[in-house]
Symmetry: C2
Subunit: 150 residues, 2 copies
DNA sequence: ACATGGGTTCCCATCATGGGAAGGTCAAGG
DNA sequence: CCTTGACCTTCCCATGATGGGAACCCATGT
């Protein structure tokens, strides 16, 4: 009830307080992720506290790797007091799965390369198992147990 | 010495045998990653075995997450018989570091979200720690030891 | 002769982000 | 009053790797 005249701030100030670049703030507006803010006569954007909240929300969601589409849905859910937490959780769980899959893929690449790099002497000699692996197929064999002389 | 008339193949055949899409093959050519192949009078591209090798090399390098720039250097090193394996290994080690950093970042996001999701009941009730975390700052506190009633 | 299945070039889209140009606006200070 | 500098505005372009699709040319089989 305390209509506290919600101090309007410029886009640069909004950027500074939320950690979202001015460029991105305008972009979020253009793709409909946030509501167009009020404009002064000069056509300058001015953001109210609720706008700053949304921008902070978006930045934190992005820091967790959510896509624009996910964020759009999360923001809608946040605003919808009649939401069910199950909806939110479903989005989060799906995203966790995607994150884990990507991380696993990167880790697999890293492991393969580590194995190859470990057996590369890394000196002036030209022969190198890394290049050999790229040379011909049969790569991606992860823990190829070094049978030969155990 | 056996100049084996290196059976020239069309772009579709090259794509099929190397696993690189025709689209990408043309793209690699346009950015100078591979040499322009010979053309028949019809302007059709025709690939020799050495070209197929390069495409296979590129695909395997891409499967390991190397960037175009890295691949360019790796291909140059592969062709350069006077290379030192140290150069190859340096590229690989740098890339491993990048892969690990990205994987760690994703894993951190996943962990944070897993923690939040674990404490979200995920039913019809609207209150949800995930949304609460996005609501206000002080997220990214990983193992916030649940002091309160131990 | 015409259909089909390649090939070719060129443009556009993705996803999130930034760079930069060209121009309008405002406050402070000489 | 006018300049300077720091904002603001819009619009276009670029990234990296990949794909979609249009519009058009070519080759082969029935």
């Amino acid at each position: 009830m305390t209509l506290a005249t919600t101090a309007l701030v410029t886009i640069a100030q909004a950027s500074a307080t939320t950690g979202v670049s001015a460029k991105m703030i305008r972009h979020y507006e253009s793709v409909g992720l946030i509501k167009p803010p009020v404009r002064t006569e000069n056509r300058y954007r001015h953001y109210a506290e609720s706008d700053l909240h949304d921008l902070g929300f978006i930045r934190r969601a992005r820091d967790l790797g959510f896509s624009f589409e996910d964020i759009r849905q999360l923001l809608d859910l946040w605003r919808n007091k009649g939401r069910s937490s199950a909806e939110v959780k479903a989005i989060a769980l799906r995203h966790i799965k995607e994150l884990d899959e990507k991380a696993s893929a990167l880790a697999a690449m890293s492991r393969t390369l580590q194995t190859l790099a470990a057996s590369c002497h890394g000196d002036k000699r030209p022969d190198c198992p890394i290049l050999e692996a790229l040379d011909r197929p049969v790569l991606t064999s992860p823990s190829a147990p070094l049978r030969g002389n155990p």
